[in-house]
């Protein structure tokens, strides 16, 4: 008796599945697409940005402002670090997924995750350099070494100190200060040295933009006040005054800068 009922349910299930596949699998997305293209054409197609008729990107996706060797261009505001592919790859969004105490993210922090040359836990970081006490050393191929073993080879500079993995937060902070001509140990805004969840964050914080403004002004031979005014003008406040955070859209402000020239 029960198998008869189950059989009837199975037949009805198959018909139901056919119906929902046709209606919801094909009808629903097409209806939404039609309405979206009709009413929200720009957004539905990815908020694309054109200059001189050429597609240069999307207002909602960050992009890199680097030269062909991958070095940041000083005349442009720089976005946050990115873990999408090799950086701001629209086809492979993603985060670092590194835990908050992972040495690849925070470096070797004394007493927390430090290891000695033999790979055993140690109270201090044997790889510390004068500039970076949290230095994570690299091997001759340039890869970071987080579990040292006796006999491991390391890259060193001419003065004998370790060459550190450039992707830890302390190293990014050092590089950010150098690039922007800031004093050693000057505070660095946290968004400038951390990667976003999508790897495609189009925005930076206002502080990050203000810290970059003098460098951008120098590279473009503009008065620094003019660039700072631009940052203030281009800062998007919180939505409805309280949702989210104030942001500066990097592509947008760089477009404005190019337009000044």
């Amino acid at each position: 008796m029960r198998s008869v009922i189950f059989g009837r349910h199975l037949v009805a299930s198959m018909v139901m599945l056919l119906v929902v596949t046709l209606v919801l699998g094909f009808g629903y997305p097409l209806v939404v697409t039609g309405l979206s293209q009709l009413f929200f054409h720009k957004q539905a197609n990815g908020s694309l940005v054109y200059r001189g008729g050429k597609l240069i990107g999307s207002a909602l996706l960050g992009q890199e402002f680097t030269d062909s060797k991958g070095n940041p261009l000083p005349q442009y505001f720089q976005p946050r670090p990115s873990d999408a592919g090799t950086g701001y790859d629209g086809a492979s969004s993603g985060a670092s997924n590194l835990g908050p105490s992972n040495p690849l993210l925070v470096g070797f922090v004394a007493g927390v995750n430090t290891v000695g040359l033999n790979g055993q836990p140690s109270a201090t970081n044997p790889f510390a350099t004068a500039a970076d006490p949290a230095c994570v050393p690299t091997d001759p191929q340039g890869n970071p070494v987080t579990s040292p073993a006796p006999g491991q080879k390391y890259t060193k500079t001419a003065d004998g100190s370790y060459v550190c993995d450039p992707d830890t937060i302390p190293e990014r902070a050092i590089a950010y200060r150098a690039f922007n001509g800031m004093a050693a140990n000057a505070p660095v805004p946290v968004d400038a040295v951390t990667a976003s969840g999508s790897g495609l964050d189009p925005d930076i914080s206002m502080q990050n933009a203000l810290d970059q403004a003098p460098r951008v002004a120098r590279a473009r031979h503009l008065p620094v006040e003019q660039v700072i005014t631009l940052v203030h003008r281009d800062t998007q406040g919180r939505e409805w005054g309280f949702l989210g955070e104030p942001t500066v859209n990097v592509l947008q402000i760089n477009l404005v800068l190019d337009g000044l020239a």
């Binding site: 189950f6 199975l10 009805a12 299930s13 018909v15 139901m16 599945l17 929902v20 919801l24 699998g25 629903y28 997305p29 939404v32 697409t33 309405l35 979206s36 293209q37 009413f39 929200f40 957004q43 539905a44 197609n45 990815g46 050429k54 597609l55 999307s58 996706l61 992009q63 890199e64 261009l73 629209g90 086809a91 985060a95 670092s96 997924n97 590194l98 835990g99 908050p100 105490s101 993210l105 925070v106 922090v109 927390v112 987080t146 937060i169 505070p187 660095v188 946290v190 968004d191 951390t194 976003s196 969840g197 964050d201 914080s205 206002m206 502080q207 203000l210 949702l243 989210g244 955070e245």
Partner: protein
């Protein structure tokens, strides 16, 4: 927490408080038994009649819990098989501009179960391993189906526990009406709102842009908003907050009673929810203590501050944590930030929301039936303590019900702890872990807790597409979804038609604040303490050592 953080949290609570009764009233009208005369009949009724005729079913018949459960399982079986076939064959099927090859058997098994159960755990690479056809037809249909089943089962359980009839309703009618009148219209509206805010909805593939600096960038397209809408609504739509409306109103006293109970527990649950949301937001705003002090994590008007690794500038640390804990609590598991990089305390907020499972506030209908089952448990324990006959809505709770309730309560924790522990001691389990130390343990246990509770979010640092994890996580999803459904229906069936006793002075009051506080205690003990050793070894240990 910052002022804007509080504002965002209060905004969500206020919107929910306003929207829930409105949605609830609509749901109540739709699912009232013999409920013709609901809003929108003129549009929806002909559609529904057409569906019933095509299926050859009588929408007016009402079934026993066994027939109802069998129909749910039959639909689950058939849709899993279809989705499995689509995923295996996507390489040769049309609608595959990105040339995704057919998925391997174990990955297809895992993915099919994941979407049919509403878990949406994704062990595959979205960009490269799923074709457009799989995404928009296979997965979207599964998301609608899962949502419809969840709401339908909740209705049946409520009918059994609170109603006078011996039957629990008609699955095809509940399922059809929940799709036609709730999920499809809301998804269309939701998708359009998302598009207006910038979500993509087009039929073009990648476009290549020439960047300002002279490089190139691929800008993805696709049918994104239509999928996002049902992804979010499907686990949320008929949720706990809609519970007030999920009543078939067969029995006015029974339902009034139940309605009162739900009204009183909404508040404490909101408090639990707000509680661990605030903790998580606070922790993320506080930032990562292992960074050098010269990295400024102090929030201000010009700096979001806090732990920004894996978070977007526009959301900031507090907005990200709010979204995360919110979707964990509703079992949607749709994050807007990388959970793996949360601080230990911030991540625990999300973890606890998952472990409390379907009750804080819970997912698509699952929230409602989980709470009802836990309420039965609380009634029984309270009854034993004060020496009164345990009764719920006038129906006596006996050994039959308690056995089923215990099986219900234990099914998920046992699955999580057994499979999680095995994964931590054998090499197919441990070799997938990305981060060292206690954080790695959290990655594994979180994965099992997440899928067994139909959540699907990940502490992503686990390479989950391996034979071991595809199989065991798939198994955990099946148990986590269908054990509660079948047991919940069985409990409802065992109470359906039971004699309703009049209230006397000896009746335990199940609508008062005392009982609600007691229920909260039971939930925390049942949901929390079972997992406590795991939390100590994972995030709590990481916090102490860090």
């Amino acid at each position: 927490m910052s002022v804007s953080g509080w504002e965002q949290l209060l905004f969500i609570v206020a919107v929910t408080a306003v929207a829930a009764p409105l949605l609830g009233r609509y749901l109540a009208a739709v699912f009232r038994d013999g409920g013709y005369g609901a809003p929108g009949d003129r549009v929806f009724l002909p559609v529904e009649r057409l569906v019933y005729r095509t299926l050859g079913v009588d929408p007016e018949s009402s079934w026993t819990w066994r027939a109802y459960a069998l129909a749910v399982l039959a639909l689950g079986l058939v849709s899993t098989l279809l989705l499995y076939a689509i995923l295996r064959l996507q390489g040769v099927l049309p609608g595959n501009p990105t040339h995704a090859p057919g998925m391997p058997p174990l990955l297809s098994f895992n993915t099919a179960i994941s979407f049919i159960t509403g878990t949406n755990w994704q062990a595959y690479e979205g960009e490269t391993q799923a074709s457009y056809l799989s995404d928009t037809v296979g997965l979207v249909v599964a998301q609608f189906t899962a949502a419809g089943v969840g709401l339908a089962v909740a209705l049946a359980v409520v009918r059994g526990i609170a109603g006078k009839a011996r039957t629990v309703g008609n699955f095809w009618r509940d399922f059809t009406r929940s799709l036609v009148r709730v999920f499809v219209p809301l998804s269309i509206i939701g998708a359009l709102v998302m598009v207006s805010q910038g979500a993509v909805q087009n039929l073009s593939g990648f476009r290549t842009a020439t960047t300002l600096a002279g490089g190139t960038q691929q800008i993805p397209g696709g049918l994104v908003a239509s999928m996002e809408a049902i992804k979010l609504l499907g686990t949320n739509g008929g949720s706990y907050y809609g519970a007030g409306g999920a009543h078939p109103f067969e029995n006015p006293t029974g339902f009034t009673n139940l309605f009162d109970l739900l009204l009183v527990i909404v508040l404490p649950f909101a408090i639990i929810f707000v509680g661990h949301t605030v903790i998580s937001m606070q922790a993320e705003l506080h930032g990562n203590q292992l960074l050098p002090t010269s990295v400024s994590q102090v929030a201000s008007n010009v700096n979001p501050g806090g732990n920004m690794e894996g978070k977007e500038t526009r959301f900031g640390p507090e907005g990200s944590a709010l979204m995360t804990v919110g979707t964990m609590g509703t079992t949607a598991g749709a994050t807007d930030s990388a959970l793996d990089s949360y601080t230990p305390v911030g991540g625990t907020g999300a973890f606890v929301a998952i472990l409390l499972g379907e009750v804080s506030p819970g997912g698509d209908g699952g929230g409602l039936y989980s709470i009802l089952v836990l309420a039965l448990l609380a009634v029984f324990v309270a009854g034993l303590m004060v020496g009164r006959t345990p009764e719920f809505l006038g129906k006596k709770i006996r050994a039959t019900q308690m056995k089923l309730v215990l099986a219900y309560v234990l099914a998920i924790p046992v699955t999580v702890l057994v499979l999680g522990s095995i994964s931590l001691v054998i090499s197919p389990g441990t070799s997938s872990i990305l981060n060292p130390g206690l954080h790695g343990l959290t990655e594994v246990t979180y994965a099992f807790a997440s899928v067994a509770n139909n959540n699907g979010s990940a502490f992503a640092g686990l390479a989950a597409n391996t034979p071991w994890y595809d199989t065991t996580l798939g198994l955990a999803m099946l148990i986590g979804r269908f054990a509660p459904i079948v047991l919940g229906l069985a409990i409802a069936g065992s109470l359906a038609g039971a004699r309703v006793h009049a209230r006397t002075r000896a009746t335990l009051d199940t609508a008062g604040p005392t009982f609600v506080a007691f229920l909260l205690g039971v939930i925390v003990i049942v949901g929390g303490l079972i997992y406590f050793p795991m939390l100590i070894l994972g995030p709590i240990g990481e916090r102490i050592i860090g």
